[in-house]
C-alpha cells in the first residue's frame, strides 16, 4: 500500500505541508481565504530542532495501536487507511495515549483528527506530498 514516507535529509522545514494539509481539510476552495488569520491544526506536523527538520503524519500502521485501543470503534482500517468517524468519537483520547508517533491530535470539535491520506482528492495523492517543493515527503510503496 502507498504511504507517506519522509526523506529527512531533503526537508527544508518550510512547513508548506502543514499549510497544504490545513487547506485540504478546510471547506474553502481558495487557499488564502482558508488560511487567513487562523491558527492551523494540520494532520502533518514538522518537528524541528538544531537545524534538523522532518514532517510527521500517521504511518497507517499494519498493526495500529490507535485502532485496537479505540474504545468506541470510531477508528477503523479501510483498505489499509486508518480513518476516524468523528460522529462516533467522543474525544477520550485513548488513541493519543496509544500512538507511538504522536500522529493523532485533539480536534477543534472536541474529538480527534488524523491524516486520512486525502482519500477524497481527485488524483489520490495527499496534498502535503503534492505541495512539497523538495520531495522530502513522498507517496509511494516501500
Amino acid at each position: 500500500m502507498k504511504r507517506v514516507y519522509v526523506n529527512e535529509k531533503w526537508c527544508l522545514g518550510c512547513h508548506l505541508c502543514e499549510y497544504n494539509c490545513a487547506f485540504a481539510n478546510s471547506d474553502e476552495t481558495d487557499m488564502a481565504r482558508a488560511l487567513k488569520d487562523i491558527k492551523i491544526h494540520p494532520n502533518i506536523q514538522v518537528e524541528e530542532n538544531n537545524g534538523i527538520y522532518f514532517a510527521v503524519s500517521c504511518r497507517h500502521c499494519d498493526e495500529p495501536l490507535c485502532v485496537k485501543g479505540c474504545i468506541t470503534g470510531a477508528l477503523t482500517i479501510n483498505d489499509g487507511v486508518i480513518t476516524i468517524d468523528k460522529n462516533k468519537c467522543i474525544g477520550c483520547y485513548t488513541c493519543i495515549l496509544s500512538c507511538p508517533f504522536g500522529a493523532v491530535a485533539p480536534s477543534e470539535e472536541g474529538v480527534v483528527q488524523k491524516c486520512e491520506l486525502c482519500m477524497k482528492t481527485h488524483d489520490g495523492i495527499p496534498k502535503c506530498v503534492q505541495g512539497c517543493p523538495n520531495a522530502a515527503i513522498v507517496f509511494e510503496e516501500r
Partner: protein
C-alpha cells in the same frame, strides 16, 4: 472445522472474533452474552447520559458485525458451567454447547462491600452496563440529590454524565484522594478542584457507617441526604466459571502470554484476567479496554492456530472530566521529571527506563511516552532531556527515524 465458543460480548470477545477471522474464515463462532444488546462500548455509558453519544453510535462494531464475521449469537443467556473434559458449556436454560476452543471473556462485576442498612435503600444503582445506566437515568429528576460511593474512574465518570440532570452530587470515598488508582496526590488535587468548580461535592477519607432509605450517616459523624445512590466502590473479575472448572485463579483468571488458562483449550482475556504488567514485571489485573481488545485478538489468533504473544500490557488511561483531559500510563516509581507550567506533567524513570507518566491538560503526543514504556527503550539511547520537555521523534537517532518514518526495514 473448528468450533469456537466465546463467553462475553465486549472488547475482548470482539477482539477474539477479529483475531480468529484473520486466521480462520470458516470455523464456527458462537458468542454467548448475558446481556441482550449488540456489542457496545461499556465506557460510553457516561457519555450516553451526558448526551454526547446515543445507543446507535455507542455500538462498538457496526450492525452487520456478527453477520460479516459469520458469528452465531446467544444473547440473554448465562453460562453456568464449563465441563473441560467433555468440552462443553452449559447455559442457564440447561442447553449444552460443545467447543473445540473456548474463550472466557466474562469481564468484571461491581463489588459492593457489606454496608449497614444498604438493603433499606430502594433507589440504588451500579454503573457498569447499559441497562444499569438506563435504569439510573430513569430514576433521575432535576431535583435529585445523588450520592456516589467511590471516587474512582467509574464513580466520577458517572458524576460527569448525570451532572446536568440533577440538583446536586456528593461523592464519598475512603481514600483521601480522588482517582487514587491513576493519579498522585498533587495531580488528584487538580482534578478534584476542577470537579468542585462544576459543583461536585467531595467527602474524602470518610465512609458511610449506616444507610437509611434516604440518608447516609457518615463515620465522621455527618449526615448526607440523598434520593439516588450510586455504588461505584470497585469491581471484581468474574472468575467463577474457570475456578469451578479447576483452572488457576488468583484475583483474576491466570493466563500466560498466549492468553491460555491452565486448562487446555480454554483461553481468557479482558477484565476477568490477570496478566503480566511489564511496567512492574508482575502479574496484576489490568482492567482496561485497549488491553482487553489486544488480549482478545491474541487469544483469537492462538485459538485459530496461529502462534501469537501479547506481552506489552501496561496500565494506561485516557480520561477527561468537563473538558479537563488526563492521560496516564505505567507505574509511578523512580526519579521524577516534572513540569507544572503548561498543565501538569510528571515522568517517572528508573534503571535507564521510563516507568510511568501523568499528564493533565496538555496531553499532546502522549503516545510517544507510552511507547518508551511499552518498548522499554533505554533512555541512554535517546535525547531524554529533549523528550521530557517535548515529546517527539526528534529525540531518537536519525537511523531510528529512517525506520519509523522512512519505512526502512532492518
Amino acid at each position: 472445522m473448528i468450533k469456537y465458543v466465546i463467553i462475553g460480548n465486549s472488547a475482548a470477545a470482539i477482539g477474539a472474533v477479529e483475531g480468529i477471522r484473520q486466521v480462520d474464515k470458516k470455523g464456527e463462532i458462537t458468542i454467548i452474552s448475558n446481556e441482550s444488546h449488540h456489542t457496545y462500548s461499556r465506557p460510553l455509558i457516561s457519555y450516553l447520559l451526558l448526551g454526547k453519544t446515543d445507543e446507535q453510535r455507542m455500538k462498538y462494531r457496526p450492525d452487520d458485525f456478527y453477520e460479516k464475521n459469520n458469528c452465531k449469537t446467544l444473547f440473554s443467556k448465562t453460562v453456568t458451567n464449563i465441563d473441560s473434559k467433555k468440552k462443553t458449556v452449559t447455559l442457564d436454560d440447561n442447553t449444552s454447547i460443545s467447543y473445540d476452543k473456548l474463550l472466557v471473556s466474562t469481564g468484571s462485576s461491581p463489588f459492593v462491600p457489606p454496608m449497614d442498612g444498604l438493603d433499606s435503600v430502594k433507589n440504588k444503582f451500579s454503573f457498569m452496563t447499559l441497562d444499569e445506566a438506563k435504569a439510573l437515568d430513569s430514576a433521575l429528576t432535576s431535583d435529585s440529590k445523588v450520592l456516589i460511593v467511590g471516587a474512582g474512574l467509574i464513580g466520577l465518570k458517572c458524576a460527569e454524565g448525570i451532572h446536568a440532570k440533577v440538583a446536586n452530587i456528593t461523592v464519598i470515598d475512603l481514600a483521601p484522594n480522588i482517582l487514587s488508582s491513576i493519579l498522585d496526590t498533587q495531580g488528584s488535587a487538580i482534578v478534584q478542584k476542577h470537579l468542585e468548580s462544576k459543583g461536585v461535592v467531595f467527602k474524602l477519607g470518610d465512609s458511610v457507617q449506616k444507610f437509611t432509605e434516604k440518608t447516609a450517616l457518615l463515620k465522621s459523624g455527618g449526615t448526607i441526604d440523598f434520593d439516588v445512590l450510586v455504588l461505584a466502590v470497585g469491581v471484581r473479575p468474574n472468575t467463577q466459571l474457570v475456578k469451578d472448572a479447576g483452572g488457576e485463579v488468583n484475583r483474576g483468571i491466570v493466563i500466560n502470554e498466549r492468553m491460555e488458562t491452565s486448562i487446555p483449550d480454554i483461553y481468557s482475556a479482558g477484565d476477568c484476567t490477570e496478566g503480566m504488567d511489564i511496567s512492574i514485571g508482575q502479574n496484576r489485573i489490568l482492567a482496561l479496554l485497549p488491553n482487553a481488545y489486544m488480549q482478545g485478538e491474541c487469544a483469537g489468533k492462538n485459538m485459530a492456530g496461529e502462534a501469537c504473544v501479547f506481552d506489552k500490557a501496561i496500565p494506561m488511561n485516557a480520561i477527561g472530566f468537563f473538558g479537563l483531559h488526563i492521560i496516564t500510563a505505567g507505574t509511578y516509581d523512580g526519579e521524577v521529571y516534572e513540569d507544572l507550567h503548561d498543565g501538569y506533567k510528571k515522568l517517572f524513570y528508573k534503571d535507564d527506563l521510563l516507568k510511568g507518566y501523568i499528564l493533565i491538560e496538555n496531553i499532546k503526543k502522549a503516545g510517544i511516552y507510552t511507547s518508551l514504556i511499552r518498548e522499554k527503550t533505554p533512555l541512554s539511547t535517546i535525547d531524554f532531556t529533549l523528550i521530557c520537555e517535548n515529546p517527539g521523534l526528534m529525540a531518537f537517532g536519525r537511523e531510528v527515524r529512517e525506520e519509523k518514518l522512512g519505512g526502512l526495514k532492518r
